[in-house]
């Protein structure tokens, strides 16, 4: 494991490069196949509306997978992630058009945890249509 970011080079408040992840209906079908989660709320508009959702929604785990990319692209090595957790607060609604939805992810170093293990806690913010879609999204990563 080898992060390209040095523990000594970051401080509390250091911002990671933010990213925007587009997601459309085809992406959800691909994710359903790859993950084995075929819940129809992620691909069947009629079903989604019948259970009270505004439209088809992205898999929570798709959003979780997208959000950590801001961290793993920053360290370069995904194996540097020691701990990662989120709360699913709002769904990412994915309309049936040529654009789909956007998941906007920002993150910053919230704490330097251990000078010997060189671990930091990164707090992540993920929004779609201006709504926070993840709560308590935090990762612990080991830096170089």
């Amino acid at each position: 494991m080898s992060a390209k970011i040095s523990y000594d080079a970051v401080e509390v408040g250091t911002e990671l490069p933010a990213q925007v992840f587009p997601v459309n209906r085809a992406d959800l079908i691909a994710y359903a196949g790859a993950s084995g989660d075929f819940n129809p709320i992620h691909w069947n508009e009629k079903f989604a509306k019948e259970v009270g959702l505004p439209d088809v929604i992205a898999h929570g785990m798709f959003t979780m997978a997208s959000a950590i990319r801001v961290v793993t692209d920053w360290t370069g090595d995904p194996g540097t992630v020691v701990d990662y957790g989120v709360r699913f607060t709002k769904p990412v609604v994915v309309p049936n058009d040529d654009k789909g939805a956007l998941i906007e992810v920002a993150a910053k170093v919230a704490a330097k945890l251990d000078d010997d293990a060189r671990t930091v806690r990164v707090d992540i913010t993920a929004t779609s249509e201006g709504q926070k879609v993840l709560g308590m999204a935090r990762a612990v990563v080991r830096l170089a």
């Binding site: 080898s2 992406d27 989660d37 009270g52 929570g60 997208s66 194996g79 709360r87």
Partner: protein
């Protein structure tokens, strides 16, 4: 009817080994739009010190949730109605990333059961170990089962 809290601590037998394939990792990585070569190119993975391509951090959920769904949701004594379940929280604690050719087993355990505002909240952990018995990652999944009454009166 609320879930029986005496199920807290119930541990299910280990799953049969799941053999991690390079192409399954590639399929998963592509499905989340990943471009990091450490997921698809063994040479890129070796350059970072791994013996083969590694899996994205959330890849393991497919394995642990399948076990949880089969064992916990499928436990007739517990009586959790999957149609009322939503995914509340998810957390992973890693010892190391999953690599292609890993043979992984999951030990699934009910860590907590609570009733909040008529909803059942159940916390399930899936402890993932490799063929040598070494810890790889633990997935902690919080499921919320909405109250059946509220569902019916809607």
């Amino acid at each position: 009817m609320a879930l029986d809290p005496s199920f807290v601590g119930r541990t299910y037998p280990p799953t049969d080994p799941y053999e991690v394939g390079r192409e399954k990792i590639r399929e998963f990585a592509e499905s989340i739009g990943e471009t990091n070569p450490v997921y698809t190119d063994p040479e890129a993975a070796k350059a970072l010190g791994y013996s083969d391509v590694i899996a994205p951090p959330t890849f393991v959920f497919a394995i642990t949730f399948k076990a949880a769904r089969h064992l916990v949701v499928g436990d007739p004594q517990l009586g959790l109605d999957f149609n009322r379940v939503v995914h509340g929280d998810q957390k992973f604690t890693y010892t190391r990333p999953i690599e292609a050719a890993d043979r992984l087993t999951v030990i699934t355990r009910i860590d907590d059961i609570k009733s909040l505002a008529g909803n059942d909240v159940i916390l399930i952990s899936g402890e993932v170990r490799d063929a040598a018995g070494e810890h790889v990652v633990t997935a902690m999944t919080k499921l919320v089962a909405r109250a059946a009454e509220a569902e019916e009166s809607r």
